[in-house]
């Protein structure tokens, strides 16, 4: 890897609630950023419950993990596994047999420090919850990406994370709203992106539609962003573009569709006396 003068930004991907798609999101943002020609290190900080390796299909190639780096067995840079499908994409696995308390916040910060001059981006996949593992993942973060689904329980937990991130003195998280089902939104049986943003009062980084392709892709260990033609894949490429400062409109999959529908209705009301 080339020595770079610029230091990588650390993004921690977190959610509070488990099962909302944190790891899949981390893997896919990693793929999408690497496809843009960046060097990206994705780090699984879910010690004891390692998952990022299987989601990325790299489980058979793990030699060293985060714990080896923390204990000084190997340099962080050497512990990274290169994803052969996507040049520039590197992964550091978690240790399946250690405990979250075996790593400290200072050690996580140090691991990221060691990698900052070698890559463009570091993505830290946080464990669910708000305990030690989450705090370890949060410690090195320059930015926090909050993943939630449009469900009451997930949004409630996300709100807790917003508070904890603020309390840790980090910039306010940006939101990825995952697994939106446009048909449910259209008939009013799912909260819209606007609803969730109104409640959490954070900025939006992206919306990702529910996509059966993600299940199939994860089964195969092939992040959906490898296929930029899929709807979810495109969503992740849009997110990567926004991370790089581009202005990309949100995918038209909830309000836009619902609004389009309502707007046609609203024309009926426009003629009304209050002309709203």
């Amino acid at each position: 890897m080339d020595e770079q003068s610029q230091r990588a930004q650390v993004f921690t991907i977190t959610s509070g609630k488990g099962g909302v798609g944190k790891t899949t999101t981390t893997a896919n943002i990693g793929v999408a950023l690497a496809r843009r020609g960046r060097t990206v290190a994705v780090i699984d900080a879910d010690i004891g419950l390692r998952n990022l390796d299987v989601v990325m299909g790299l489980e058979n190639r793990v030699v060293y993990n985060l714990m080896h780096v923390v204990r000084g067995v190997v340099d962080a840079e050497r512990a990274l596994i290169r994803d052969k499908r996507v040049p520039g994409l590197l992964m550091l696995a978690a240790d399946q047999h250690s405990d979250k308390d075996d790593v400290s916040q200072e050690e996580m910060v140090q691991v990221c420090e060691d990698l900052r001059t070698h890559v463009d981006y570091i993505l830290v996949d946080s464990p669910a919850g708000i305990e030690q593992g989450f705090r370890n993942a949060l410690a090195p973060a320059d930015r926090v990406i909050l993943v939630t689904t449009p469900e009451v329980s997930a949004v409630r937990d996300a709100d807790r994370i917003v508070g904890l991130v603020e309390a840790a003195g980090k910039p306010a998280p940006v939101l990825i709203l995952n697994r939106i089902k446009p048909d449910l939104v259209a008939r009013g049986d799912m909260m819209t992106t606007a609803d969730v943003l109104d409640i959490l009062r954070v900025d939006i980084l992206g919306v990702v539609p529910e996509d059966a392709g993600i299940v199939a892709a994860t089964n195969r260990g092939e992040p959906v962003a490898l296929d930029a033609s899929s709807r979810a894949g495109r969503a992740f490429h849009n997110i990567a573009a926004r991370i790089e400062g581009e202005t990309v409109p949100l995918m038209a999959l909830d309000e836009a569709e619902a609004k389009g529908f309502l707007r046609s209705l609203s024309n009926l009301f426009r003629a009304g006396p209050d002309g709203g």
């Binding site: 469900e151 009451v152 409630r156 508070g163 009013g188 409640i199 609203s266 009301f269 709203g276």
Partner: protein, 95 residues
């Protein structure tokens, strides 16, 4: 979003759709979460307010409401009992 909200309200069926219900429930839950209050604590606060105020004036206990409003405002509504209500506990506090 006000326009859309209004429209949703007018259109009808959407106003009680589950997505809207989810949002309203979340708003209430998060007010408690953010204030670090539980409904049980609020109930206790209500009882203590009744105890303090009823030492001085006759109030309609059953109609006393203590609630957490949006934006983290704790609001107590304390209807006074009917004058000469003779210490009636469930005095007709209007409404």
């Amino acid at each position: 979003m006000g326009f859309l909200d209004r429209l949703m309200g007018r259109v009808g069926p959407a106003s009680d759709a589950s997505g809207r219900v989810a949002k309203e429930r979340l708003k209430v839950v998060l007010e408690y979460d953010r204030a670090r209050l539980t409904p049980a604590q609020l109930e206790l606060i209500r009882d203590e307010i009744i105890a303090v105020i009823s030492r001085h004036v006759d109030i309609a206990n059953a109609d006393v409401e203590v609630k957490l409003e949006q934006g983290g405002r704790l609001v107590a509504e304390i209807p006074l009992g009917r004058a000469g209500g003779g210490g009636g506990v469930t005095g007709g506090g209007g409404r």
